[in-house]
């Protein structure tokens, strides 16, 4: 009987541990080397340059929401780390959505590799942010466009331009000032 109760206790303990297991796997090593970001920026620039040469089959079916890329340092510095992280993460999410819809509409096969690369890089940026303990931040479904932080673009080249500017600006600021790296 005592063995039965110990077994039950042991099973309960295991279930509790399984349930309270952290959502994340083993913590990632922080990626502080900005050359990684440099690589992402250069590939985004390549995609933008390729899109500029496209004449046909490279349009957006409908305008997409993209984040604002402008950075006013006086304004930026007034924001705290969390707000900055949120701004970057939501912007990345929006870009992911927009470039995803572009991928579906572009028929020019030469651009497909560039667009796929951009999407993969956005995914990798998410991993880098996670390594720096910057939490993901998905905007609520209802808030599709926020006037201050977003705007709409209707051309693919504009979209990719925004993509480049966002990586160069806000994302770079966030990564270069990550507290984990200093």
């Amino acid at each position: 009987m005592f063995h039965n109760s110990s077994r039950g206790l042991f099973t309960l303990l295991l279930m509790l541990l399984e349930w309270t297991r952290p959502g994340l796997p083993s913590p990632l090593r922080p990626i502080c080397d900005l050359r990684v970001l440099k690589h992402f920026i250069e590939e985004a620039r390549d995609a933008q340059a390729a899109m500029l040469t496209c004449k046909e089959g490279c349009g957006l079916p409908e305008p997409v929401t993209v984040p604002q890329t402008k950075v006013d340092f006086s304004v930026w510095e007034r924001k705290n780390a969390l707000e900055q992280a949120h701004e970057v993460q939501s912007g990345l999410w929006l870009l992911n959505q927009a470039i995803g819809s572009l991928r579906a509409s572009v028929t020019n096969t030469a651009l497909h590799s560039h667009i796929d690369n951009s999407l993969i890089n956005i995914f990798r940026i998410g991993k880098v942010l996670r390594s720096l303990n910057i939490q993901e931040c998905t905007p609520p479904a209802g808030e599709v466009s926020r006037g201050e932080e977003t705007w709409r673009v209707s051309s693919a080249s504009e979209l990719l331009q925004v993509h480049v500017n966002f990586l160069r600006g806000k994302l770079q600021l966030l990564l270069s000032n990550a507290p984990v790296c200093h």
């Binding site: 970001l37 890329t69 006013d72 340092f73 006086s74 966002f166 600006g169 806000k170 270069s176």
Partner: protein, 530 residues
């Protein structure tokens, strides 16, 4: 009260001066940047950002077009925003031109900016740019050079421009050259505030300067102006102990080698440098030491030292052999018959020595083989002698001329004169009528064949003044030679045994007669008898 006023006045003056200095400095910096951009940027208006939140744009106008600043409007528009206007200021420029400036104090980066310049509502310039891509920074400050402690190295350190968020994006270019030289090297370094210059010459003064630029990934711009050059001398070169020791060892080895060579050739060198004055003492033993140089006395007491080397005096006069051309063997053996076998033996022994004598030897051998048992008819010769008529040379004998007979004698014991070649030796028998026999004898040498196969002795007719020419034997061939002093006539050879001429072989050979002129009076015939 007065002190307070004075203090205030003093503070005011200091601040004013500082501000003035900074203004002057700022004006100079602006002037430099303007000059840089006029050279580097093709677009108009030319814009540059110095910090994180500013933008300065300017354009140049010629004198004829120039007007007041009020005529110009500078309109700028960020993406997705409304336009704004910037106040235009004017500054005089070189060459009568004018510069119009517009400065923004609050900017937005990473977003396109549209700029439009109007003059009297006329659009004259239009440009779209990203502010973060037109940075023109101030040169790095506090450039210092220090020694690293290693030869040929200098460490350059500087203070990066104080721009937040951009420290990792800065790129520096360090230029260094020897003081006074225009040829220098350039090194780039990224996101650092120091650089070690390597490969420099020791004990040399170097001038170093630096400039900065953003790397172009997130931020970009133009190269800043160079800093003022900083001079520093590198460490003096030390002599590497290894090199010093090696060079010492090498020099030592070379010195030893040269000494060895000198010592091994010291005699030769002494002879060349300090040649010995030759003295004749070695040749004249005792001349100087004993007789004090008195040659006459030394001569009187010398014991033939002069004759030690007779060859020195008689080098040109060698006894020359005569070639025996033929010898005819005659009848019964004579007392001297023992001679031919012996001679033949001697000849046979040494037959193989000299090729030239083979002819002679074979002739001799033939003659003797034919009649080995015959005696030489001395009696026949005497008979002939008594009847000189058949003897063709009897007329010759009547004269006082000399005759030479050549005997083949067994001189096997004698040493041959190896160094005497047969045909090159002159005939030594030269004599004139009326000479004394002793003279003629002295003139006569013994003719010897070079191989030593036998000696041919000669006899002159002077020895037999009474015409008692002892016939040596009828086996001899006679030939008369008449020397007129101009030419020599040879009579045909004849033998006292004319019948046997056919059996024998009479050879005629040309032989040289080099008769020294001083030994022979002109006109004397020479007769040779064989």
């Amino acid at each position: 009260m007065t002190n307070d006023n004075l203090n205030k006045l003093l503070v005011f003056c200091v601040l004013f001066c500082a501000q003035k200095t900074s203004i002057v400095h700022g004006a100079q910096a602006l002037e430099t940047k303007v000059a840089l951009l006029l050279h580097a940027e093709p677009e108009i208006p030319k814009c540059f950002a110095e910090g994180m939140s500013d933008l300065t744009c300017f354009w140049e106008e010629d004198e004829e077009r120039t007007g007041s600043a009020d005529q110009y409007s500078f309109i700028y528009t960020y993406q997705n925003e409304n336009s704004s206007e910037c106040a235009v200021t004017a500054l005089p420029a070189a060459g009568g031109k004018r510069l119009y400036f517009c400065r923004l104090s609050q900017t937005q980066l990473f977003v396109p900016l549209d700029i439009r310049v109007f003059r009297d509502d006329l659009l004259i310039h239009n440009r779209s740019l990203f502010i973060e891509l037109v940075f023109l920074l101030d040169p790095p400050a506090n450039l210092t050079l220090t020694s690293t402690g290693t030869q040929g190295q200098l460490k350059a350190s500087w203070l990066p421009p104080s721009l937040k968020y951009m420290g990792d994006s800065m790129m520096y270019e360090v230029s260094y050259a020897m003081a006074g030289s225009h040829i220098g090297k350039v090194e780039e370094v990224q996101a650092s505030s120091e650089l070690i210059l390597r490969g420099l010459q020791s004990g040399t003064k170097y001038k170093v300067r630096i400039r900065v630029k953003l790397d172009g990934v997130s931020y970009s711009g133009y190269w800043s102006a160079w800093t003022d050059p900083v001079l520093m001398e590198t460490m003096p070169g030390d002599l590497d102990p290894l090199i010093v020791s090696l060079s010492l060892i090498i020099s030592l080895v070379l010195t030893l080698l040269s000494l060895i060579v000198l010592m091994s050739h010291r005699r030769f060198l002494l002879k060349k440098i300090w040649p010995i004055i030759p003295t004749p003492e070695s040749k004249f033993q005792g001349l100087f030491k004993v007789y004090g140089g008195d040659f006459q006395e030394w001569l009187g007491h010398s014991t033939g030292g002069l004759w030690l080397r007779p060859a020195y005096f008689y080098s040109e006069e060698f006894p020359a052999p005569l070639e025996v051309l033929s010898e005819v063997s005659l009848g019964p053996a004579l007392p001297s018959s023992a001679l031919p076998p012996k001679a033949s033996e001697a000849l046979g022994e040494e037959e193989d020595e000299d090729k030239k004598l083979k002819r002679v030897d074979s002739a001799l051998m033939e003659g003797w083989r034919e009649t080995p048992q015959e005696h030489w008819p001395m009696d026949q010769l005497r008979a002939i002698h008594q009847h000189p008529a058949p003897w063709t040379q009897s007329s010759l004998l009547e004269s006082h001329d000399a005759y030479v007979t050549l005997n083949a004698q067994n001189h096997s014991g004698e040493e041959p004169l190896d160094d005497i070649l047969e045909e090159t030796l002159p005939l030594q028998v030269l004599f004139a009528s009326g000479r004394t026999s002793s003279e003629s004898r002295s003139d006569l040498g013994s003719f010897q064949q070079s191989s030593g196969s036998g000696c041919l002795s000669s006899q002159s007719s002077f020895e037999y003044p009474n015409h008692t020419w002892p016939p040596k034997g009828p086996g001899y061939t006679y030939m008369a030679v008449a020397d007129s002093g101009v030419s020599m006539d040879y009579s045909p050879m004849s033998s006292n045994k004319i019948d046997d001429i056919g059996k024998g072989v009479i050879y005629t050979n040309e032989y040289k007669n080099e008769i020294p002129a001083h030994r022979r009076p002109i006109g004397t015939p020479i007769h040779f008898a064989f």
